[in-house]
């Protein structure tokens, strides 16, 4: 929390300070951005985070390993499955648990469905940020179907708590694959519809092309990951660069942008949904029969040691750094969240643009505040 982000004597007569948030609708949560403005042009910017800091890392130190998984859902309520994954993978790596093949494929399928869910919600919210109210009705039509599928599997619509240490609690629902097939058959066309509706719209392109340009080196230096980094032209995706689980068996493309402006970041997410659909198709075809959970000891007590596991979530690299001292509770857990680093670059790409662009740029970063504050 910051009280005086700018020194008063450094503000010229022409400039003034404007608080954006903590209750501004376009910040999607409790985030405050202090703006220094000269007329309509942003000359200074200071993000103020921590309003909903809930001390998850400290809480985890007092919980048993199997009790922590639901906490990871709540870090990022839009892409909960991927966050589960990084955590359970850390415990599994420390304990040396080998997953059955079927569980790995099921995990990939749920994670990709979750990515589609997250991108669809981002698409709707971004539309509303820039003043287009219709896209949300189109995107939610498909999002409901995806949520229904994941709900059937896990019982949750928002914070799914899908994964367990060692695999899953139950097998896929009987009609899961047929529903998935039905969904994928039309989804490709629907993405084209979304693009025609919003992304290629003349007004939106005018508002986003050439705005908030983030170059490659700055992005890497700030630790930016995910679609934001790929929008800047870096073909970096953990699913390809450091493949975890069975991702190396699928054929998919890493989508990148060219200029690193706001529009490129939008386009990358739309393309990524296509690639996710491609992975889902392959995973459904390759899904082996067998067990859905490994043999896990009743008492989870990993050997002493340290591990860092990371997954490509919908927003970028989410990692769990875990120190175990051989007891039933972790000694220390650190969550490396993608939005934390993605937000820190905001100052770099916003200064010099108009105040209305701040909303568009922030929307294109796809921030989720609970994972920044943790």
């Amino acid at each position: 929390m910051i009280k005086a982000p700018f020194e008063m004597e450094k503000i010229s007569d022409e400039e003034y300070i404007l608080n954006m948030g903590p209750q501004h609708p376009s910040t999607h949560g409790v985030l405050r951005i202090v703006l220094k403005l000269d007329g309509e042009v942003v000359t200074g910017l200071y993000p103020d985070v921590g309003y909903i800091h809930s001390s998850v890392e400290k809480m985890c130190e007092n919980k048993k390993f199997e009790m922590i998984t639901p906490y990871t859902d709540r870090l990022d309520y839009l892409s909960a499955v991927n966050y589960n994954w990084a955590y359970v993978a850390a415990v599994e790596k420390l304990m040396g648990i080998q997953l059955p093949e079927r569980a790995e494929y099921m995990r990939v399928m749920l994670a990709e469905l979750n990515r589609i869910m997250s991108h669809l919600l981002w698409y709707s919210a971004f539309g509303m940020d820039v003043g287009a109210l219709t896209p949300i009705f189109y995107a939610f039509r498909e999002r409901e179907e995806v949520i229904d599928m994941v709900e059937g599997m896990t019982g949750g619509r928002l914070t799914h708590h899908a994964f367990r240490i060692g695999g899953f609690k139950n097998d896929l629902q009987k009609d899961f694959l047929s529903r998935l097939e039905k969904f994928l058959a039309k989804f490709e066309d629907r993405i084209c519809e979304y693009e025609a509706l919003l992304i290629n719209n003349v007004i939106l392109t005018a508002r986003t092309k050439g705005v908030g340009i983030l170059d490659k080196d700055t992005a890497i230096n700030y630790g930016v990951t995910g679609p934001v980094l790929r929008g800047s032209g870096c073909a970096i995706d953990l699913r390809k660069n450091a493949p975890y689980s069975v991702y190396s068996k699928f054929d998919f493309r890493v989508c990148t942008g060219k200029n690193g402006d706001t529009w490129d970041r939008l386009k990358v997410r739309m393309d990524e949904m296509r690639e996710s659909a491609k992975i889902l198709k392959q995973a459904a075809a390759m899904l082996p029969a067998g067990e859905f959970c490994a043999k896990v000891p009743r008492v989870i007590k990993p050997a002493p040691g340290e591990v860092y596991t990371k997954v490509e979530s919908a927003r970028g690299e989410f990692g769990v750094y875990m120190v175990s001292d051989g007891t039933e509770k972790p000694y220390r857990i650190k969550f490396r969240s993608p939005s934390f680093s993605n937000l820190s670059v905001l100052k770099e790409i916003t200064i010099g643009s108009k105040i209305a662009d701040v909303v568009a740029i922030m929307g294109s970063l796809d921030l989720v505040i609970p994972e920044i504050d943790r």
């Binding site: 929390m1 800091h53 890392e57 700055t218 630790g223 340290e306 591990v307 490396r336």
Partner: protein, 152 residues
Amino acid sequence: MNFQEILEKIKTKHEVLESKEDLGVLNAYIATAKIAAVAAFMKDELKFEQLNFITAVDFPANNAIEVVYHFFSYETADSVVLRIKLDRAKAEVPTISGVFKTADWHEREASEMFGIKFSGHPDLNRLLLPDGIESPLRKDYKNPDMTPLPKA
């Protein structure tokens, strides 16, 4: 590169106090004053261009706080961990935010959570915590809200 090769490469230019392998990842202990130089070496020479995170782990039994720097190379997909041992009573370490911009926020977070001073940091204000909460992630942190409720 395996961890032995990376260790040899670091050793050619910089002193490594102690090293261990943890699940295939190199953990190298560095002298406190050298951290910025080693971080720059990692970034420019060894091409570990991503700093995943900076955090700390408290070990009251050894009277030490260890600062952990986790690096990743996009080219070779290798990870390296640099570590620094600090005295719990006088925890101070030079900043590396001049080398990696992402260190700026991570150091601010580690600073308020563990009471570590990152000397030379441009803006070591509080990031997430409100006033009045000091170093909550240290193991000896006490707060009345954290006492468990009596069993019914």
